[in-house]
Amino acid sequence: MTDWLAPWEPTAADPFDLAKAGHLLRRAGYGASFAERQDLVRRGLDAAVAHACGDGAAGADPAERWLEPLLAFDDIARLRETRVWIALQGSRPLRDRMTAFWHHHFATSNRKLQDPRALARQFATFDRLGLGAFDDLCAAMVRDPALLRWLDNDVNLRGKPNENFAREWLELFTLGRGNYSESDVRAAARACTGYTVVRGEFAFVGGEHDRGEVELLGARGPTDGDELARRTAAHPASARLLAAKWLRWFVHQEPEPAWVGELAACYEQRGRDVGATLRVLVRSRLFFSPAARRGIVKSPSEFVLGTVRACGARAAPKQLASAIAAMGEAWGEPATVEGWRGGRAWLTPATWLLRSNFAAELFAGRLGPFAPGADALLAPATSRADRAQLALDLLLDGDCSPASRERLLAFAASPAADGPGAAGALLHAVTALPEYQLL
């Protein structure tokens, strides 16, 4: 395919249908109910993309509404629960996805920080700036109290530099390995001396800032953290690093190298505006191509939140948040400085069982309230085959391999699909199909 970032135009042979709407909302959001997907199909692709991007989202932003109570609670479990609640509202699908993306990117852990308030404020920064210019996000993050303490910049002092923050800034957040030297790391560390945290707020302590000349990324002179942020945000290597990550997150867990350069160019043409770039990506021919379809293993949050949202159900955020954490994606406590491995690393026999057991408990109503229940969800269908089809429509956009369909129909036709809990068991059965592990 050439010119794959060009807008995809649906045709009579390849229409914007239930499967495409589900695909869009699972990636540019945490999924959507059957009714919502059907409605988006009727309204068409442009309206669906606008919905995902939160255009004209009605009502107060749930993320803003929850910030103050969250700061008051000062509890990491409450932070997770609140993020789950916000994602379940689904009023700003892409924004919520990108806040999670930036948390995976600027992966800061409360395990070391022991300061849930600082993390809540970092999430709020992602909410506010996550779809804006990367330059603005970098300018905020170089002064973010949680990030500075997480990477020891509060002990990065003139004459006694600590390189942890500077190294990760160059390697993980902006340029990527191979695009800077060890002397750039030392220079960046000196640039950030005196960027610290006092009583929870960012503070620039002039007396600890190294005002000497450094050579940073090919330019000489005195510098500081703000300039480090400006120059690294604008660096072409950052564009490639972000492009590759967005492709893994939104398109395919193993993107073609050729895609990376084109998405990076698109991002630079749009003045490094993240939202504008992603709007192009999720509307593109590549995004809706067969190559992208189900090319990503779901993360725990995508699995859990996607299941609840696909059913259009209400469920207890607290139980969902702890299920996601138990599956290995404890928001606020990333597994590594690089966030979570993602992709295939989520796929093991143990994680498969945890996911299957989560689904069994959720549909049986044993994980707190699940409303409307499984019986109500499948009530519109009367025959066994209709019920199987409806379960497939709800959870898999009605789209799976012939082998999966055959097995599900066999299940629905068997005595195993009778008696108490039959509807829940049928929905559980859909989650046991291999397609259901894929985004």
Partner: protein, 409 residues
């Protein structure tokens, strides 16, 4: 960098070998080498100096004006080889009896060069066996995870497991081996809503949905993992059902975790590397009652585990290491507690242990920045354990470390 998944190693570890074993002779893996290691971690930094207490050193009382009261009830180790001058905290009565009987060991002042007082970093160092570790990255592995990789290559389906945790600790992170985290054995079982009155055969029908199939690409890979999960869970369930406890476990989280350890070890499922933790040792204030209660819980749960293993004839093949990420400062703080320190003793119990007290006890006249100076490198302890397990220590530890000499081979 994205983690590159090694499909060949995955196939070996996850599915092909268990299937082959099943073909050879039913549900049981052959018990080639049955030796099992449990690493029990005291989280938060246990105060080593009030666990293995210097009985005769006057400086101890000066440095610990209130905490020294633990010395009065201390259980002397003088009757054990190398134990002169030290006593165990009185809450460790059952461990003490085992040390005197020669089936448990104390190893003094274990640590690493340039001690780090951050829980976070010190725990990472113990978990990776790498004191120079800069940061935990996506491809960082733990020492027990690397050992699991060696076993996975040798054919164990599930060579290692975390017991009691919700997520995998760094020490069990491996390159290729599959390592589950089990709070309850039921977590690694397929749950099916098959209450009374449900259609017959619902479990089998759900399992059939995940039966092996021939799809290509990612769908095929998922199908493969799903069928491996069903198969392994079925074998584990069959294995665990054969276990009946032969000891009274305390009704505590640790008691439940250690009973699951016993089930895994006795079931002969082939899971040979286990880790669990007991939290709460970060005693910055009012340390005496807190540590007393925690050590008591440890003593009772460990004793039940060792009794149970013994009565199942599995004690000789099971070894337990008890350690913490660091000890605490020698000087008591102003809140009748202690702050983060450096080296601390470790305990070894079970088969393969050379009973008694090993290593050089802490010298309160020669402190390292106010902390107990490490006299045994923690990797020498790991070397002992890996040798006993017949796993190549040099490759797991990325270097040659002298054995600490606390274990038989």
């Amino acid at each position: 960098m994205p983690h590159r998944w090694n499909r060949r190693a995955f196939l070996q570890s996850a599915a092909v070998l268990p299937f082959a074993a099943a073909l050879r002779g039913g549900a049981w893996l052959p018990r080639g080498n049955p030796r099992t290691l449990l690493v029990l971690e005291l989280e938060g930094g246990n105060d080593g100096l009030n666990t293995v207490i210097p009985l005769d050193d006057a400086r101890y009382a000066q440095l610990r004006p209130t905490l020294q009261s633990a010395r009065r009830g201390a259980l002397p180790l003088g009757a054990a080889p190398g134990g002169g001058g030290f006593g165990l905290h009185m809450a460790l009565a059952k461990v003490h009896a085992r040390v005197l009987a020669g089936s448990a060991a104390v190893l003094h002042a274990v640590g690493y060069p340039s001690p780090d007082r951050s829980h976070f970093r010190s725990r990472d160092i113990w978990h990776t066996a790498d004191p120079r570790l800069a940061a935990v990255r996506a491809d960082t592995t733990g020492w027990l995870g690397r050992a699991a990789d060696r076993l996975a290559t040798a054919g164990a389906g599930l060579p290692a497991a975390e017991i009691g945790g919700t997520e995998l600790p760094l020490l069990l992170r491996s390159a290729n081996a599959m390592v589950p985290s089990l709070r309850r054995a039921e977590d690694f079982a397929l749950q099916v809503d098959d209450a009374a009155g449900a259609g017959p055969g619902r479990r089998a029908a759900i399992e059939a949905l995940a039966a092996p199939r021939a799809d290509q690409g990612l769908v095929g890979e998922v199908a493969h993992v799903a069928s491996a999960a069903i198969e392994q869970a079925g074998r584990l369930r069959a294995a665990l059902q054969r276990y009946q406890p032969r000891a009274d476990y305390p009704d505590s989280p640790l008691g439940r975790d250690l009973q699951l350890v016993a089930r895994m070890a006795i079931a002969g499922f082939g899971t040979r590397l286990l880790h669990t933790g007991l939290g709460g040792f970060d005693t910055h204030a009012r340390q005496l009652p807190t540590q007393q209660a925690l050590l008591q819980e440890l003593d009772l749960a460990l004793d039940a585990l060792l009794q149970d293993l013994g009565r199942h004839d599995a004690l000789a093949d099971t070894l337990v290491l008890v350690h913490s990420e660091f000890g605490r400062r020698v000087l008591e703080n102003d809140s009748q507690g202690t702050d983060h320190g450096a080296a601390a003793p470790v305990l070894l119990l079970g088969g393969g242990v050379r009973g008694g007290v090993h290593g050089k006890g802490p010298d309160l006249g020669d402190l390292l920045d106010g902390d107990v100076r490490p006299t045994t490198d923690f990797r020498s302890v790991y070397r002992d354990l890996l040798d006993w397990l017949s796993i190549d220590a040099a490759s797991v530890l990325d270097g040659e470390f002298a054995p600490a000499g606390a274990c038989a081979r």
